[in-house]
Symmetry: C2
């Protein structure tokens, strides 16, 4: 064990595609000319252990709603046993304070030597690095409501986090969740209706003075890319994948 | 530990995309209406531990060419510690006899309770199940040469394994490996040249009496799909993903 390199561990499965996309970002951002150049990593997907994050946040304290942090911790233990020492969770809502603080405490108390690499925190650090202070947030209702990004894009740190109005937030949520036209149900290709909604929301956020857009839901990169966005994009999963490479093998990070 | 459900473990990273595609096949073939319905799984990608399989097979016995089975076994140990009890390797060439037999012996001797689920074996079992006896093989030079599929599609079992002629095998290899037009370098989209080569090869294999096509390289499904193939397709990674679901949660297998 002592001679093993620390692995990067990703808690995926929330939802299943988000973990795969996260791994793909890692591979795409690693300087590699052959298979063997890629970094050591392990992705765990035990979704049955991790109850719906939004449901928990909306019903916290009621019987039957267990904190998803316990299931995330169980996944972290399994990653740890596989050799992971840097761990990220590929879900935005899981980073809500009432979930993530408990998760972090459980890991700190039981898994020595593990660094938790946090998606919204990484995103805020990057925004600061590139001089973005007014960031527009695109997200699901659950992420807006639980203020996941507000915890890191704080006024104290010099940020203005810009949200669209309530009616627009609802249309964004539908563009992600609607069974008829949302990205979760229709991702290949994304429907014109979802695209139009998101482009309208982006135009509003630009009009409110956003300098960049936070893609605060792992489905959004399927519909919004640098080629169709008028503003620079902050993709937290992509930025976190890049940070993990920088932490473990900086010489391999694609510029 | 005793109450934990056995996880499905995938040795990926050989190459990096193959492991992700394998996981995607599992997710796509699981009956799920919410995240929590998906199966417990873990994907490990430690490519630096696993030397190139084709290079080893072509240079076996020479100094400096370690059997990739040892690195695959190291990955299997890590998956085991994470809880995996069904393990597959997402690489066709890794199933060559001189690699896979050693891998299987190492696992059998050290990791009690682990079932290795083998891609070409699963593919042959499925072909038998659907009554295919004459199967055409599309693969890289390494897979043709190391006779990975010949070990399972045997005459004794009633199979005729059909290979294209040597000149066509070379063009197939180029359609996968060429830096100018091959799928490994150009997958999104696949080049017209690679597509034309593969369609020509498929026409030859059909002309030689193939009843179905084995996609014996994990890159091929990017270029060949049911919609552009005149013959039924046997995708070993997809079939193995389905077999893992059948072994662990048969009620969840999408028909």
């Amino acid at each position: 064990m002592e001679t093993e390199k620390p692995l990067i561990g990703i808690i995926g499965g929330v939802g299943p595609s988000a973990g795969l996309d996260f791994m793909r970002y890692m591979f795409a951002n690693t300087r590699a000319v052959k298979d063997q150049d890629h970094l050591d990593s392990v992705l765990i997907s035990c979704p049955a252990l991790i109850p719906d994050r939004t449901e928990f946040l909306l019903n916290e304290g009621k019987p039957g709603y267990e904190n998803p942090a316990y299931g995330m911790f169980e996944c972290a233990k399994r990653l740890y046993r596989a050799g992971a020492r840097y761990i990220s969770v590929a879900c935005n809502t899981a980073h809500a304070d009432h979930i993530f603080t408990l998760f972090r405490a459980l890991v700190r108390d039981s898994l020595p030597g593990v660094s938790i690499v946090n998606m919204p925190e990484t995103c805020a650090a990057y925004a600061r690095e590139i001089g973005v202070t007014r960031a527009g947030l695109l997200a699901t209702a659950g992420t807006y409501q639980s203020r996941v990004y507000h915890e890191y894009f704080t006024a104290e740190a010099g940020f203005v986090l810009i949200e669209p109005d309530a009616d627009i937030r609802e249309t964004i949520h539908a563009a992600i969740y609607s069974e008829d036209f949302g990205i979760k149900a229709h991702s290949d290709p994304v429907t014109e209706r979802a695209k139009t909604i998101l482009q309208d929301a982006i135009a509003r956020l630009a009009g409110q003075g956003s300098q960049a857009l936070i893609l605060g839901c792992t489905e959004l990169p399927l519909a919004i890319s640098p080629s169709n966005s008028p503003l620079p994009l902050l993709n937290p999963a992509l930025l976190t994948a890049r940070r993990l490479i920088r932490l473990t093998a900086p010489e391999k990070l694609v510029p």
